[in-house]
């Protein structure tokens, strides 16, 4: 039986990819004060960003309830005996914890392996895609999980914020703020790899995009690249063009960032993901 792959909505996978690779997505919960929405189900990404700019409430996201995972596992265990459940980094969210509790609560004989990707967004997405492809090709659970871990280990994520406003509102800026400047309008570039850390600052968006691009391109051996956007798809196309010029043979994925990063990054948020080549290949 084919291994089934499960992930959460922070993987930012397109509906086409989800359908093509038969991935099951458990939606995050997006909270605007008292109002709660299932990411991608009750509230599309488009709607989210509209609400973000109009609302004075700082939204937050949280993991899906244990019950949502349990339901997915129970439903899938009718079709398979092995599930790879690959999720957003445990340092960023309680998603892995919720999935683990659901796994333990599952009463069917189906095996469920919960994978902490240690990353987010398209980085997670690429790991999930690798796993789903392996599953589609008939690989056993161990190999499917290994495929996901292999990609996740080689992922580097970069994000460029257009403003610190939303991060401040959400109370997420603490010691990072000291490094990022608060008297001048600064566009920070952050790196995500296990944790979030400041990589640089730019004064203009154009400068920031260039900086982020160069930071990503600095890796000598790049196997795959992702470009992410929130509200400015044209910038994503431009970045993709730059990538094609520099690395014409590397596959590029373009994805839209959802509320998980969008809530704190705000509109205008851009990102890039690179997957390093496998060493010794």
């Amino acid at each position: 039986m084919t291994v089934r792959v499960v992930t959460d909505s922070t993987a930012d996978l397109s509906p086409q990819t989800v359908e093509e690779l038969q991935i099951t997505v458990v939606p995050q919960i997006v909270l605007f004060g008292q109002e709660s929405f299932r990411d991608g189900v009750d509230l599309t990404t488009e709607q989210f960003f509209e609400k973000l700019t109009k609302s004075s409430i700082a939204p937050s996201t949280s993991q899906a309830p244990v019950g949502a995972f349990l339901e997915v596992y129970e439903t899938l265990s009718a079709e398979t005996d092995a599930i790879a459940s690959i999720h957003l980094g445990a340092k960023f969210s309680g998603t892995v914890a919720a999935a683990t509790i659901a796994r333990d609560a599952l009463s069917t004989p189906c095996r469920v392996e919960v994978v902490d990707s240690a990353t987010s967004s398209l980085g997670l997405g690429l790991a999930v895609i690798a796993a789903a492809k392996a599953a589609k090709a008939g690989a056993p659970l161990e190999e499917v999980v290994a495929a996901a871990r292999s990609v996740a280990d080689r992922v580097h994520t970069f994000v460029l914020l257009d403003t610190l406003e939303y991060a401040r509102r959400g109370g997420r800026i603490s010691r990072l703020e000291a490094l990022l400047g608060n008297l001048l309008d600064i566009k920070p570039i952050l790196g995500i790899r296990g944790e979030i850390h400041a990589l640089g600052r730019a004064r203009t968006r154009a400068g920031g995009l260039k900086r982020m691009f160069e930071l990503a391109m600095a890796y000598p051996d790049i196997a795959e690249i992702g470009v992410m956007y929130t509200t400015t798809p044209a910038d994503a196309d431009m970045l993709a063009d730059w990538v094609r010029e520099r690395l014409p043979d590397v596959p590029i994925h373009i994805a839209r960032l959802g509320p998980a990063l969008g809530a704190h990054g705000g509109p205008g948020l851009m990102g890039m993901v690179i997957v390093e080549g496998v060493k010794g290949d």
Binding site: R175, A178, L179, G181, N182, L183, L184, D185, I186, H197, A198, L199, G200, R201, A202, R203, T204, R205, A206, G207
Partner: protein
């Protein structure tokens, strides 16, 4: 017969008289010190005049002040020399100049003094030939130290001085006085020639300010030898360090206050009133001691707010010999370093930025700079100040951002003398400094960051708007005294009636299709409403530009604009 020649003959006569009678063929270190002290006094009297002939009619073209302050630090050290021997005194002067050097002219002067001291090595007393040789060595030393030596500057003048001094010394067994007379004469001629060597001087209708300063110094030394000028020197020279220490030591023994900070400084300014200063210090604390005259004053106070005392000092003029010690700790013979804007910093490479202006300092701090060097009124700190800042960084690797072309040499000198692994990124303006600091990569080391920051400083254009202190023709532009002038990346491009117009015109010249953000830093003397009117005009003329207005608080410059 020219005046110079007849003067020369008169001196030759006296030289013959000298060698005929009781011989004063050699001189002591004390004499040397006296000559340089008089040179410093004479320089101080002429400093404003020298300032006013800087080519660029900008208020902070303070060659005269910089040279004077450098010489003052030089003499401070000379008066602490351990012996009377000429070479010890010369070495002390070289040391003082090294640490006290301000501005490019100050640094070049310090290089000259180094060469001068090297030449007198081993000599307890000196004569005309020794002095001539030392002048030559001073010229060579300075020439070697400057990366791109330019003719028509202080370097040319010093070289001519060395040549003339050597000729006189060898030809007629020249006495010190005759050698110095030839030197002064050669300096005067060489200075007058500088406009023929540097077109920018010719267009501006001035001689080279640094060269003029050198001539003034030599003239002062000669006047001392002739008995025309007693070194009626400022306090720092007349009142050697140890008598100040005695006075302040009694205050400490008195045990008046056990807490707070022992704050000391020497202020150089104009129209200083000891009573007014005393009154203010008494408001701030205890154990107050104020000594000096209207140009130089030494202040000592025990206060819990050293910042207030120092701020007051900087409002009066230039501060040197600055010391702040924790009294309790001092009592235990342990002193804390002066806080030069130290901020805890997570970067592996420390950064030092030179900035004048409360707002600008705040900005650098908000960007995570490790230490700030206050430029002061002339915006030119001394080597020692930069060195102190470098040493105050917790990191072993440090990058220095001078943010002013007249501080680059000083920064280089400080870096050379620091025990840390330090490097200068030669930023020429505040916007360049900010751009460089923003480019700091927290994950890379010193060399890589220096390269990254050097690249980043070129990504921004700087416009500086100020008031012309002199009528002049420079860079093909005629400027009238009092007009508002705008400099684009250091080049004078606009002269206009108002700073508002100058800024707008210059902006129009500087904008390119790639420019997306203009930041306006307004200075301490600038009207906030005028600034807002300026921003409104910019937004109207260039609707696609982003603008940011920030209080810089800088002296002299109404506006500093950065374009990126």
């Amino acid at each position: 017969m020219t005046n110079a020649e007849s003067e020369g003959l008169a001196v030759d006569d006296s030289a013959r008289r000298e060698s005929a009678g009781p011989q004063v063929l050699t001189y002591s270190g004390d004499d040397l010190r006296g000559m340089f002290a008089a040179a410093t006094t004479w320089l101080e009297r002429n400093a404003e005049a020298i300032n006013s002939i800087n080519v660029f009619p900008v208020p902070d073209g303070d060659t005269g002040t910089n040279m004077y302050l450098t010489m003052q630090a030089t003499m401070d050290e000379a008066y602490q020399a351990s012996s009377d021997s000429a070479d010890i005194i010369a070495k002390a002067m070289a040391r003082g100049a090294l640490m006290g050097a301000r501005g490019n002219s100050g640094v070049i002067l310090s290089q000259m003094l180094r060469g001068f001291a090297d030449s007198l090595d081993g000599k307890d007393r000196f004569g005309g030939l020794d002095f001539a040789t030392a002048l030559e060595e001073a010229a060579s030393s300075a020439h070697r130290a400057v990366r791109n030596p330019v003719e028509g500057t202080i370097l040319t003048v010093m070289r001519e001085v060395g040549v003339a001094a050597r000729k006189r010394a060898q030809k007629l067994e020249g006495s010190l006085r005759s050698v110095l007379t030839s030197a002064v004469d050669a300096a005067k001629k060489a200075v007058a020639k500088t406009p023929t060597l540097l077109p920018v001087l010719r267009d501006a209708g001035v001689v080279d300010a640094g060269g003029q300063g050198l001539y003034i110094m030599l003239e002062g030394a000669l006047r001392y030898l002739r008995g025309d000028l007693a070194p009626l020197a400022p306090l720092a020279i007349q009142d050697p360090h140890h008598s100040w220490l005695n006075a302040t030591a009694t205050l400490h023994e008195g045990g008046e206050s056990e807490f707070g900070y022992c704050t000391e400084f020497l202020v150089v300014g104009e129209g200083l009133d000891a009573e007014v200063v005393l009154e203010r210090m008494v408001e701030l604390g205890e154990s107050v001691l104020v000594v000096g005259d209207e140009k130089t004053m030494r202040v000592h106070v025990h206060t819990s707010d050293p910042g207030a005392a120092i701020s007051y000092g900087t409002s009066l003029g230039e501060l040197t010999r600055l010391k702040v010690d924790n009294i309790q700790a001092q009592a235990e013979e342990f002193s804390h370093k002066v806080q030069v804007g130290y901020e805890p910093n997570l970067a592996p490479v420390g950064t030092v930025a030179v900035a004048s202006g409360r707002g600008l300092e705040d900005i650098f701090r908000s960007l995570g700079v490790t230490a700030i060097v206050h430029g002061g009124r002339t915006m030119n700190p001394s080597t020692q100040q930069v060195l102190t800042a470098i040493d105050s960084c917790p990191q072993d690797e440090v990058i220095v951002l001078p943010n002013n072309k007249n501080v680059v040499l000083t920064a280089e000198q400080a870096v050379q003398h620091s025990k840390k692994d330090a490097q200068v990124v030669p930023t020429q303006s505040i916007p360049q400094g900010i751009a460089a600091l923003l480019a700091l990569n927290l994950e890379k080391g010193l060399r890589e960051n220096a390269a990254i920051m050097a690249e980043a400083r070129h990504q921004v254009r700087t416009i500086e708007v100020t008031k012309a202190i002199r009528s002049v023709k420079v860079d093909g532009l005629s400027v009238r005294k009092g007009q508002a002038i705008a400099l684009l990346d250091g080049k004078l491009v606009i002269a206009d009636a108002s700073p508002y117009n100058a800024a707008l015109s210059c902006l129009g010249r500087a904008l390119t299709p790639q420019t997306s953000l203009v930041t306006i830093y307004y200075g301490t003397d600038t009207d906030r409403d005028e600034t807002l009117t300026l921003v409104t005009a910019i937004k109207k003329d260039y609707p696609s530009l982003d603008t940011e207005v920030v209080y810089g608080g800088q002296p002299h410059y109404n506006y500093i604009l950065s374009l990126e």
